[in-house]
Symmetry: none
Subunit: 202 residues, 4 copies
């Protein structure tokens, strides 16, 4: 079986495995997760998992690769030529939407960082850092030009990550505090947009 020639059914099976693995890895971290759980979750047998992927590590690596490809998109879309506050608020919205739509991916990422990011160090120090630096310069430029209130662009970006991802990563805590019947992220967009708008208005 080569990497290129995969039948449709193979691709489908791989997706099923990845979804199951995402569920488990995002909760337990890499070492805490077991192939047994992933097999159970996916409805496939354990050896069958390893027919589609070389190893536990390979499943995890695939999940991270797939994730990182899209992880940068919201920030990348920040347009230097747009309206500063609107651009940043739009970024907040996209980031929150991603957290709400892909909470498991967010937790997978959070797990990696908590562990010291051993498997995505390259990504962070490479693509992510470059992108953040680039956008930090844009935001810094806006601040210097008086188009937004003066602000440290890095702290701003970090606080956007923190507040949006929180709705995915700490979802369990929020649900327990607010009780059943309340979706934690209800009202989150309005709140966060307001938070960052008030922060940035010149």
């Amino acid at each position: 079986m080569t990497a290129v020639a995969r039948s449709r059914i193979q691709k489908a099976r791989r997706q099923i495995i990845l979804q199951a693995a995402l569920e488990v890895f995002s909760r337990q971290g890499f070492r805490g997760a077991t192939l047994d759980e992933i097999a159970l979750e996916s409805g496939l047998s354990k050896p069958n998992l390893l027919y589609y992927f070389d190893s536990k590590e390979a499943i995890h690596a695939q999940l991270l690769t797939d994730l990182l490809d899209t992880w940068l998109a919201p920030l990348r879309a920040v347009n230097p030529a747009g309206d500063p506050v609107a651009e940043i608020c739009a970024y907040v919205r996209r980031k929150l939407e991603m957290a709400c739509e892909y909470p498991r991916e967010s937790r997978l990422f959070a797990n990696e960082i908590l562990q010291g990011a051993p498997r995505i160090e390259g990504f962070i120090k490479g693509d992510l850092r470059a992108l953040v630096d680039e956008k930090a310069r844009v935001i810094g430029g806006w601040a210097a030009a008086g188009r937004i209130a003066p602000v440290d662009p890095y702290h701003l970006i970090f606080s956007i990550w923190a507040t949006t991802q929180h709705y995915a990563d700490f979802d369990a805590q929020m649900r327990m505090i607010q009780g059943p019947g309340i979706v934690p992220s209800d009202g989150a967009e309005a709140y966060l947009v307001r938070l960052f708008t008030r922060m940035l208005e010149p």
Copy 2:
């Protein structure tokens, strides 16, 4: 060995073990951590760990117990009779200080929540929820009285947690992005105080 009568050396050894375990559990989570690592980190032999604690689980439980005792303090100190904005900013400062001084404890907690909080469900649904509800009423009262800008108290509290704990939990990522020589939390207090002050000023 009873729980009450412990010699000085026992207390000291238990502390050494707990510190080592905190390091490991906060990175790997409960299941991902191994006694081997804790033994290595603490400089004690693996059986010796189990001479001081009944089991891996017991070490972890002790860490959580010790943590939860102090986890509520910053929020509890919010004074309904104080100046609203000043009180909340003071809370932000205390919370940030705690994250910066006890980052491993913060990560230990984050790991638990990521896993769905199986071991601290009681704490969250009990003491934590009660305290949050109480303080949310206070903040809601301030907003209703026009002493702070109208705001959902729960989203406010969650965003304070998110932004402050981020400096502990996502420290690895921030360091990689900012490069060596920069401490991520430098300027964090000023930034966060400003963020929430602008948010709350009537």
Copy 3:
């Protein structure tokens, strides 16, 4: 692996394991036995044992369950409508035959009793006690009717158990005393039948 659907090979392997475990448990008792010995005896690897059984305890429990099912049969077959002395002598013969054919099972049972019967308390106080009480009434009836010599039925039953099981449980001692070439149970049936016949003849 469900309890119901087991392939032929699984059943066969389980039997191999149970035979090996019987050998070891019957000699060493539950705690004194090790999976290493059972693995060696069965020719399987240690983890493979645990592929077929959930735990050391589960293997032991299976052995006891299988044993208890048949342990009652000889006594149960005592017919209240038969000739008293003949019935009891037939019981002695069946019990002796069982001890000689299944000495390891007998030793497994003896080991449990020696330890205070922690794992078969329910069986003894339940099914076994009920059966003994029932047959004791039968024997008591025979004695009252003058069809056998007056005798305490419980002591009678216990002495039948003692003398027959002795040929299994204390086999090692008997062989060492009688030396090689002599099978301890040779002549046992004649002796025991005579012993109990003389005891019971009115």
Copy 4:
């Protein structure tokens, strides 16, 4: 500390340890017993046990040595010059008395035999066998002389051992069957004397 010069207090401590060890070994067998249990039972610390005895093995060996010294006495006392039936019945009484007074010693011995008698093989093939052979000749002589009914002396001796020791070794089972309030050995002497008297009367 030499073997000869032991203070009174040392002897007392050794006795305490031996009593505790007897309790544990007689239930669990050599391998199934732990020094922790013996320490708990004796009220001494685990290292202190090993101050008085070289090893777990040494404690066990001492128990066996002490036991074997007295194990032969009842049979040895059978007097070739006495009245055959009376002599044998007296032997039964002594053996039963020993089982009832020293049930733990009996179970210790039973455990050894069940395991194949690895530690007392020498005793059995030596002193015990010689004594049994000697007394078997006496009994055989009585039978040949028509002073008792014809009987295989070995089966006779074994059945005396079986029935008397049963009241010690299988005590747990008998209690569970007869229920609380009944002492299994009540009436045992009368029953057994009757059993063997009827067997042996010419």
